[in-house]
Symmetry: C2
Subunit: 325 residues, 2 copies
Amino acid sequence: MGQKGNLMTYRPDIMVLDATIRDGGLVNNFFFEDEFVRELYEANIKAGVDYMEFGYKASKDLFDPKEFGKWKFCDEEDIRAIVGENLTDVKIAVMADVGRTDYEKDIIDKKDSVIDMIRIATYVNTIPAAIEMVEYCHEKGYETSVNIMAISTASGRDIEQALELLCQSSVDVIYLVDSYGSLYPEQIRYFTELYVEAAEKHGKKIGIHAHNNQQMAFANTIEATAHGASYLDATMMGIGRGAGNCMVEALLGFLKNPKYRLVYVLRFVETYMLELKKKGITWGYDVPYLLTGLLNQHPRTAIDKIKADDTRYARYYTELWDREH
Amino acid sequence: MGQKGNLMTYRPDIMVLDATIRDGGLVNNFFFEDEFVRELYEANIKAGVDYMEFGYKASKDLFDPKEFGKWKFCDEEDIRAIVGENLTDVKIAVMADVGRTDYEKDIIDKKDSVIDMIRIATYVNTIPAAIEMVEYCHEKGYETSVNIMAISTASGRDIEQALELLCQSSVDVIYLVDSYGSLYPEQIRYFTELYVEAAEKHGKKIGIHAHNNQQMAFANTIEATAHGASYLDATMMGIGRGAGNCMVEALLGFLKNPKYRLVYVLRFVETYMLELKKKGITWGYDVPYLLTGLLNQHPRTAIDKIKADDTRYARYYTELWDREH
């Protein structure tokens, strides 16, 4: 396979997806101010970002709308209050989790919606349910992606079978998701090539969603890009659960397509992201995340340690190690 | 060339060098407490770190000893006050800058010193002076490295000529140094393979010293490792000028040689590195460093912005861009 593109040229097939509201919403339960979301939308338009993900289409039966901000549910009228008819080049995405979405009720015909893409998040063992959702959304007229989460804990054979099934479906984009931030660049290269090889002959695109537990989110994103991924997730200042994500500002700096305008991202970051930090919203690399990433575990215990300001790293490492055996 | 080693095995030729005091000294003018240095030394012994760099052998004629801590000068008796005769597996290194060291006066016979390795830092245009220092130190009985700084701003032909000259010298290790933290993993692969190809047939080793301006220090270090570098610089919690360095705790987590014991690094970090942070010593990734890294510039203006708490990133980016043209 080898490398696609080089550092001097750009690939017009690259799509940058801003997941600030969706992945950042996991930090603040989706309680973003309207001004924040509107300014983010404006910044993405000016910066040349290709997709903006507004949040989840979560089931109001399973999740109490009083406990979450509106971007957990992404009602059509809430998105329209920000984007109107969205007469711009930015496409609008939402995420729908397998088993946590009333998609037959909440996902309406594309002709009545400003949403362009439904991103279906699944573990490798719920691929058939994901494909049902893909076909439903595709029928309704949407672009779709399937984001296979936590591949670092799945077996190689399961991933290959998942790819085979997805390649027979109507899905447009298959995402490689390093949920635990545990993969190193050489593993990202391996997985990207596996995905690209399976998907290319079926006309599917490959995406990458990286986490920063080991400070690898940006590095892994550009490694996946060099090896054929074309849908690249990032968030402003890397906001996201735990250690967060690849930073939009780093990614746009790296990409050579002149349509991307970093300065508009920086303007948003210096005003709105720093304000979130001042309000005490915390995310980003820290030693406990390094340790869960290293041991390929969910970061939830690391989040607890950081909230409790428990910095006994050596003891925590020993605890994590015990949990493995 | 391709890859050396894989993620399941380990290469016994790997050497980890802890540069905490030397690169960290650039943050606090080398004013580390004796207890800090002694505990770091003990931690490195227990953790299986191969080399510990104590600081610079700077000229007392050019630098006023009243303005700097003692590790700017690394007098023999100051190192001995920490390590005694150093009857351990940790080797002791110091750095000597071309043009800033009175090496004929300050570097004594190896038989009278506990220092094992002299690391000579040079720009590509002062290689002949670096080689003079190499031959002097080699004659005195030391291991030597030459650390070619700022290769991201040097011409390819100059780097090739520097490598040719160094391969004819007595130097043991040639270091690839990404001073501005501006290189991406694919460039690191290119440079590492260039260095390895030149050096291998002369029995020289290759080292990597990465900076974290674009959050690439750890990623670039392991990429260089995978492509043949064997001397790997890191610092505790990544301390170092500006955005800092590759973190020892991340690197030891990655390496598979069972002689490395991460828990002792974590113990040091949670006690002594967090204490430095509490005292207000600042280092680590921040947006201004991303921008100087991206534009391949020295981080000094970014350090100024951060000291002044000037977060007008968009304006700063425009200023940096103007400076380029």
